[in-house]
């Protein structure tokens, strides 16, 4: 019986133990493209928008039912009442609707590209933060070991009257502070790991093992002139291009109203057409058409203003990213020098202790703290530079972002 219970325990441990999955930064783009929930949802929306084109095209063909045929047989003149059902292609508004559906599909595709780019960038940032925080945790743990060593020396000296009373207590307070940082960081790491596994589309019981982030040669990085890339940022921005497609579609909406005297369209603008739902439809040779056209013109003006807002935001984002990147690149050597100097100071003090000199131990703990801070600042600036450059690439849709997000067929494993 005992053996059976042991066996059950063993099996259940195996079943409920989380899987460990090793990933690299290079896997992130593929994983987000194929498994991210938001990306998949949006791929489905693009698929719906594309299929709406087929639907709109098919809606141009006659759609008859038995009752309408019967009505025509009884009263042939009633054919004119049912023109939009018998010959929808004779209603120009329907063609314009088809054009709108096609343009809105292109707009939906741009929206999808923006979302995919953001998700990939977010995943890469999370990956970077996670690796950075893991390094920071190891760093804090090493510092605790080192401060413990100093604490022991101080305690011994305090017992023999070599240092002023209370020095050991002050160092212990600092060690406890480091322990607190260690615990907070461990909690943060768990949260970040959970967020990353969600963004990468892993199930919640998967434990991620991250490979280190490949570091570029920071001393060889060159500053970026933001002015040179303003055009690329604006012309590549899916957020802005979406507005270009919307504006093209609005011209079709206007024509739809202008030609509504030949019949109005009952066709849907498709899944992406929601933004035009509040616009009026033409109502034949009616007096309302003039006002309807004014409403469409105002909508066009509104979208142009929104597009301008997007452009200004993008320019500012580019400037902020390049300013930070350039500042880090130009100051990198300072950060490196600060680490070297703080290390030298600490080593000099330790050497003096080994030689039996009477060293101020509080000075030693201060020097040790300086070194920790300098090393942390160097690691932080390295990761900030990597993330900053990735943000720049996201803005100009370069490198990992230069490809197109996957379509639904490839996500479902079907060859498109």
């Amino acid at each position: 019986m005992k053996k059976i219970i042991l066996l059950i325990c063993l099996i259940s441990t195996q079943v409920f133990a989380g899987d460990k999955t090793a990933i690299q930064l290079g896997d992130v783009v593929k994983r987000v493209s194929e498994k991210n929930y938001n990306v998949y949802e949006n791929a489905l929306k693009v698929y719906q928008a594309k299929t709406s084109i087929e639907k709109a095209r098919a809606d141009l063909l006659p759609r008859l039912n038995i009752w309408s045929i019967a009505k025509i047989i009884i009263d042939p003149a009633s054919i004119l009442d049912q023109m939009s059902d018998i010959a929808p292609f004779l209603v120009p508004a329907n063609w314009f609707r088809l054009e709108e559906v096609k343009l809105l599909y292109l707009a939906e595709k741009e929206g999808y590209r923006a979302l995919w780019g953001n998700e990939v960038h977010q995943a890469k940032i999370l990956y970077g933060h996670l690796v950075f925080d893991e390094i920071l945790l190891r760093h804090i743990q090493d510092s605790i070991v080192e401060m413990d060593r100093v604490h022991r020396i101080v305690k011994t000296r305090e017992a023999f009257g070599g240092v002023k009373q209370g020095a050991a207590r002050d160092i212990e307070i600092k060690i406890l502070g480091l322990h607190e940082d260690e615990q907070n960081l461990q909690v943060l790491l768990k949260e970040e790991r959970d967020q990353l596994s969600y963004v990468l589309g892993f199930s919640s019981d998967v434990e991620l093992l991250l490979s280190p982030v490949p570091m570029p040669d920071f001393t060889n990085l060159k500053p970026i002139q933001s002015k040179e890339y303003e055009f690329r940022v604006l012309s590549m921005s899916p957020e802005r291009r979406q507005f270009d497609h919307f504006l093209s579609a609005l011209s079709q909406v206007k024509k739809e109203i202008e030609y509504s005297f030949l019949g109005s369209s009952s066709m849907s603008r498709g899944v992406a057409g929601g933004i035009f739902d509040n616009l009026p439809n033409g109502n034949g040779i009616g007096l309302g058409n003039g006002a309807a056209l004014k409403i469409v013109d105002a909508q066009k003006e509104l979208m142009k203003t929104q597009k301008l807002g997007v452009e200004e935001t993008l320019k500012r984002q580019l400037r902020a990213v390049t300013n930070q990147f350039n500042s880090d690149v130009l100051n990198f050597n300072n950060f490196k020098r600060r680490v070297e100097l703080s290390q030298d100071s600490k080593n000099a003090l330790l050497r003096r202790i080994q030689l039996g000199e009477n060293v101020d131990v509080l000075e030693l703990s201060e020097v040790s703290r300086n070194q920790i801070q300098a090393e942390t600042a160097l690691i932080a600036v390295q990761f900030r530079t990597i993330i900053g450059f990735d943000r720049f690439n996201r803005l100009i849709f370069n490198e990992d972002y230069s490809m197109n997000p996957p379509v639904i067929d490839s996500l479902k494993g079907v060859k498109p």
Binding site: P76, W95, L106, Y229, F231, R232, M236, S248, Y259
Partner: protein
């Protein structure tokens, strides 16, 4: 019944008007954008404003090729236009010559990451896609035309 047939014929003629107007507007707008782009690239105006002017053409051209890919009718309409007007007229009215694009491309590929939009960078590829869509005979007549190269 006769009246209905006459009425339907009139309707067909009448509904053809917006279609013709639509084609004219599209072609006029693309021609205008091409002229602006040629002017900007020809004078080596690669400032933000100059590139934005050129981008209008490249965006419009790639949008039209994307739409052609999705719609047989648009394809048929373009093929008819090339046959009617001839390769020479079509190239000079709507296609930015590759030699002009190469001038722009040199600027785009300067030091650092490419400075231009995908529509500009991939223009040659988009043009080849356009040639694939119109079929071999028409494509070879455009490819051999000086105004397209």
């Amino acid at each position: 019944m006769k009246n209905i047939l006459v009425l339907m014929t009139c309707m067909l003629i009448l509904t053809g008007c917006p279609n013709e107007k639509e084609i004219k507007e599209t072609t006029d707008s693309l021609l205008q954008k091409k002229i602006e782009a040629m002017k900007a690239i020809g004078s080596a105006d690669f400032s933000f404003e100059g590139l934005m002017k050129s981008q209008d053409y490249f965006f419009d051209f790639s949008e039209k090729v994307h739409l052609m890919k999705e719609d047989d009718k648009v394809r048929a309409r373009i093929k008819k236009m090339i046959k009617t007007n001839g390769a020479d007229s079509f190239c000079s009215d709507f296609v930015l010559p590759l030699r002009t694009w190469q001038e722009l491309s040199k600027y785009c590929q300067g030091a650092g990451p490419n400075k231009c939009s995908t529509d500009m960078v991939e223009y040659q590829m988009i043009l080849n896609k356009f040639f694939d869509l119109i079929g071999n005979d028409l494509a070879s007549s455009l490819k051999n035309n000086q105004n397209c190269n």
